[in-house]
Symmetry: C2
Subunit: 162 residues, 2 copies
DNA sequence: ATATTATTGTTCCATTTGGAACAATGTTGC
DNA sequence: GCAACATTGTTCCAAATGGAACAATAATAT
């Protein structure tokens, strides 16, 4: 009889890569980080190939598609990316007609960004890709578990000082 | 009476950035991604400043500190980063004495990586930074909630085909 | 009022990144 | 046995990235 006490070993080399999730000193951080990668990286690759949008560019589109009006700084805070990256993404997306820019009359430093119908259309094409990936991964949970996860994530996110 | 029906508005501009977490079409993906950023980005910045290690370099150290023996390909799979990035990180870390390399006698293509005592020592200095950040964020949960979160994350991660 | 400090968005530039092609080794199918 | 294909790790190079300095505007202090 063969040894199948191991949890998983896709390498066929005796190294069980999944074991690291149980062993390490910051299991939640590592698992959340890994899950985030697993959720978004394949989709970003797809978006890059099909629409030639970088991660930062898509994140900008995503934020604006849900928020009606944002400054570049807002987007930087929401996405954790540096301001200059957002700035570049804004110019690229402006050029391609996915968003508009209007100076804020109340604060001359700020510029308010809004998504255009073309941007919304693009976003609508992309969202299902994320939804599909999310469904595939979260499908491992029962309805109750999923609800509980939502609740916990929501609480955690709200606890974060943006 | 003032309008305080809003959930949170740190901008003072009437834009509630946290609202995006409730509104978007893939709330779990976005929340997990945001949490991952929030957990690791500040720590990676610190590691960069204090030890001049890039994210990829530290991830390599982290994987090896928990796994005794890995190939570059293993690390690429675990971290979601391209093989060439790992390759670079390996050479950098070899040069600095944080790991060793030995050809696999059973497969001439592979090279087995192991952490050195110096690497372990470095890792031990860094781990508390992640632990602290994790504690700060997860502190928002009760003990029960935290346990449930662990359980759900574990299930999700195991469902991922590495 | 005015000096000081802070914030926003941008540009510059050195560094990092990751796709593609490659050589070396393994595996599979016939 | 050997041809076709797959996998590992590396190098090359174009593109993305992010820190730092900057100009413009705003907020704060005196």
């Amino acid at each position: 009889m063969s040894d199948d006490t191991e949890t998983s070993d896709d390498t066929g080399t005796g190294r069980d890569l999944m074991a690291i999730f149980e062993r390490n000193e910051m299991p939640d951080t590592f698992r959340i980080s890994f899950l985030a990668n697993s959720l978004v990286l394949p989709v970003y690759d797809e978006i890059k190939r099909e629409y030639d949008l970088s991660r930062g560019e898509y994140l900008l589109l995503f934020c604006l598609s849900n928020m009606t009006e944002l400054t570049a700084q807002d987007v930087a805070q929401m996405t954790g990316r540096p301001r200059n990256s957002i700035s570049r993404a804004v110019h690229r997306m402006l050029r391609d007609g996915y968003l508009t820019r209007s100076p804020d009359s109340e604060d001359g430093r700020q510029v308010l960004l809004r998504i255009t119908p073309a941007g919304q259309k693009l976003h609508k094409q992309i969202v299902p890709k994320f939804a599909e990936r999310q469904g595939a991964l979260l499908g491992a949970l029962t309805g109750d578990e999923r609800q509980k996860l939502d609740q916990l994530l929501s609480k955690l996110v709200l606890a974060t000082t943006l």
